[in-house]
């Protein structure tokens, strides 16, 4: 089962490598990882997508908590959450396919952020499943290059007071 972990970690040199080292050293799996500063400059926020059975996920969370630099670990996929990923996709856009690509962008609410005579660069945001769908549809047209951010996630607030 896939799990999305949200980790707050001290913004110190080496903290990230402690976390990635923990995963490689103990044979856990990282599917995606994204790191950025928080409002508090002394803390970094890290979103990590991993997979494993309950037993493994429990170990991963405990092992993360055991690191001296880790402040807080939350398995956001335990409850309702919003996840997003962004990709920039450079796709071949010849005369005969340009219109089709734009239509697809419209349907998936993508943005064209760069245009050249033979390519479009498309920005797309959404859950991983949406990115996957778009990528699959664009593949036959010829994807020249792709870059992705990895998933970020946040817990949904309660809808009732």
């Amino acid at each position: 089962m896939k799990h999305t972990l949200s980790v707050l970690v001290e913004n110190t040199p080496g903290a990230l490598s402690r976390i990635t080292g923990l995963f490689s050293g103990r044979g856990f799996n990282i599917e995606s990882l994204s790191v950025a500063a928080t409002l508090d400059p002394t803390l970094s926020h890290l979103t990590l997508v991993t997979s494993g059975d309950d037993f493994i996920i429990e170990q991963i969370i405990k092992q993360l908590n055991r690191l001296v630099d880790v402040y807080k670990v939350v398995d956001v996929s335990e409850g309702d959450f919003v996840e997003r990923e962004m990709a920039l996709i450079k796709v071949r856009a010849e005369a005969e396919t340009r219109a089709e690509i734009l239509r697809m962008c419209d349907i998936f609410r993508c943005k064209v952020v760069d245009v050249s005579p033979k390519t479009y660069t498309i920005e797309i945001t959404g859950p991983e499943s949406k990115l996957k769908a778009v990528i699959e549809l664009l593949k036959p047209l010829g994807i020249k290059e792709i870059t992705r951010t990895g998933t970020i996630a946040i817990i949904r607030e309660k809808k009732t007071a």
């Binding site: 080496g14 080292g21 429990e58 170990q59 405990k62 092992q63 055991r66 001296v68 880790v70």
Partner: protein, 566 residues
């Protein structure tokens, strides 16, 4: 407040932490700290002959005393030579602080002379580590390092000190207390969990306490004994747990696992409740995990949540300090008010069953005329030291025979590398223990293989006039590997036979120590007697049965009931 240089801060911080002895080996990148140690003169420094020895000695000091062991090494090879010692301490949760020199900050990353990324190298084998790039951070970092090393589940912490930082100046601020928002080990066990544990214990018919190194680390031996006695519950120990419960107690089952006693392994296979205290269900203990303790509920007390539910499913997890948790559990037993006799009645048939197993296959060995059996040497050593020595061991057969045949009654009297299994640990660890307790008898039980891994520390022991006694069980083999080859590799003794072994008596003499040798069983007692009575550093060498094995033995990957017996 007056400003201080980095090197002055190191020495001042050591004093504030109550460190009276450090072990180390100097070099260009740490020479400034050494200079300050010399100028200050209040901290005893033990010059080893190999930086690995310094790390093991600091570890031995820490295990014998419960205090934080400190060692110092220079950058590059000095630092890398400590890594085995650091990993040894990490696996066995030993509190240590390691200072390493580093090239000046401006040169870091330049592949400078004797530069190595020791913080990167030791990241997976330290509890935490630091590269101090600014002298302003140094005093707080040292404070944190000692706090982290000794609190929670203890472990080694490394501080890498660039040469320029050692000489730069800043304010020295050393708070009495420290709080880290990201590091808050759970010490107090949860009351509800203790109640649940008691209710499970109350109903158990065939309970076993399975005690590990955590009992010793948290000084929980009295509480453990009280729980066992009040509830009439037998106790088995891991290698790391030996001494946590008296080896001579009638409720003691001895060590469990790969070379555990028959009755301990049978008890684990048939128990309906395991109370695990400060132990981690390591593969050497469980054997084939699917066949481990099939009928048992498990209560698991450990300060490290990652130890719980790592290898086996646990019914009642209790996160917290072993001593506190056991105290609360004993209190729950007291409050419930069931008399001791009632507990003993409830467990009577179980204890009888255990006694029957014990009688069926007690620990033993076959005597052979004219040949020294290693087990006999350990038995005699036990008798002649009245069980009162601090015993260190190397790793392999010597370690297992000691664990089986020396009965440890007190905690912190058996120092051995359990998790990492480091050959060459025992002798430098004995030096560390002897530095802590100059008047106690400290004996390293070694094999001819292991002792040669750090034999250079003979000079260190001589320097310090330490009366460490070394017992070498010499079979001119790497005995444990040979035993595996005999049993599982059709006796192909690949690379386990030593063609050349030094004359250990002469080795002792060449260092200015004393050496004795026994070649026949009837010489064993006399050699032990002379050796133990002789002042100063002594080697006692015993030419033992070359192909003697350690039994019982559970072959790796087999169920613990599938023991090969004597």
């Amino acid at each position: 407040m007056a400003k201080m240089t980095g090197k002055e801060m190191v020495v001042e911080a050591l004093k504030r932490e109550g460190v009276d002895v450090v072990f180390g080996f100097p070099g260009g990148a740490i020479i400034d700290v050494y200079d300050q140690l010399e100028k200050d003169g209040s901290i005893k420094h033990v010059l080893v002959r190999h930086a690995q020895g310094a790390a093991h000695a600091a570890d031995g000091y820490a295990r014998a005393t419960g205090k934080v062991g400190v060692c110092i090494a220079t950058s590059g090879p000095g630092a890398t030579n400590t890594v085995t010692g650091i990993a040894t301490a990490y696996m066995d949760s030993i509190p240590m602080v390691i200072f390493t020199g580093q090239v000046p900050t401006g040169l870091i990353g330049n592949d400078a002379f004797q530069e190595v990324d020791i913080v990167g190298i030791t990241r997976p084998c330290t509890k935490h580590n630091y590269l101090v790039k600014d002298v302003k951070d140094l005093s707080r970092t040292i404070k944190e390092a000692f706090y982290i090393a000794r609190s929670g589940r203890p472990g080694p912490v490394l501080i890498d000190l660039p040469k320029d930082v050692q000489n730069a100046k800043a304010e020295f601020e050393y708070p009495d207390k420290i709080k880290l928002r990201s590091y808050n080990p759970v010490i107090e066990p949860h009351g509800k969990q203790i109640e649940r544990a008691y209710r499970v214990l109350e109903r158990a018919k065939r309970p076993v306490i399975y005690a590990g190194g955590g009992v010793i680390i948290s000084d929980a031996h009295n509480e453990l004994r009280e729980l066992a006695e009040r509830t009439c519950t037998p106790v088995t120990m891991t290698l790391m747990g030996l001494g946590g419960f008296p080896g001579t107690h009638e409720l003691n089952l001895g060590m469990l696992g790969m070379h555990g006693t028959y009755c301990a392994n049978m008890a684990m296979a048939n128990t309906d409740l395991i109370i695990a205290v400060g132990a981690r269900f390591d593969d050497r203990v469980t054997g084939k995990i699917e066949a481990f303790a099939p009928f048992a509920k498990i209560i698991h007390i450990d300060i490290d949540p990652t130890s719980i539910q790592k290898n086996v499913k646990v019914d009642v997890p209790i996160v917290g300090d072993c001593k506190k948790a056991l105290r609360k559990l004993v209190n729950a037993v007291k409050v419930a008010g069931r008399p001791e006799e009632a507990w003993c009645d409830q467990h009577q048939s179980w204890l009888e069953q255990i006694r029957a197993w014990e009688e069926r296959h007690p620990l033993g060995y076959k005597e052979e005329p004219g040949v020294i059996k290693p087990q006999y040497v350990i038995e005699k050593l036990y008798e002649m030291t009245k069980g009162r020595a601090i015993i260190t061991t190397e790793v392999g057969q010597n370690q297992m025979w000691t664990a089986q045949f020396y009965k440890f009654d007190k905690p912190r009297t058996f120092l051995t590398s359990g998790g990492l299994g480091t050959m060459g640990y025992g002798f430098p660890a004995a030096i560390g223990a002897q530095m802590a307790f100059p008047d106690k008898l400290v004996v390293d039980v070694a094999g001819d293989g292991s002792i040669q891994m750090n034999i250079q520390e003979m000079a260190t022991a001589m320097d310090q006039k330490l009366p460490v006694k070394i017992v070498i069980l010499n079979n001119r083999f790497l005995g444990m590997v040979r035993q595996w080859q005999e049993l599982f590799y059709e006796k192909r003794y690949a690379a386990t036979k030593f063609e050349t072994t030094p004359d250990f008596v002469k080795v002792a003499e060449s260092y200015g120590a004393t050496g004795f040798r026994a070649q026949k069983p009837e010489e064993v007692e006399a050699v032990l007697k002379k050796g133990l009575e002789t002042d100063g550093l002594v080697i006692m060498e015993f030419a033992i049965a070359r192909e003697e094995g350690v039994f019982p033995m559970v072959p790796a990957g087999k169920a613990t009931t599938e023991m090969l017996l004597v």
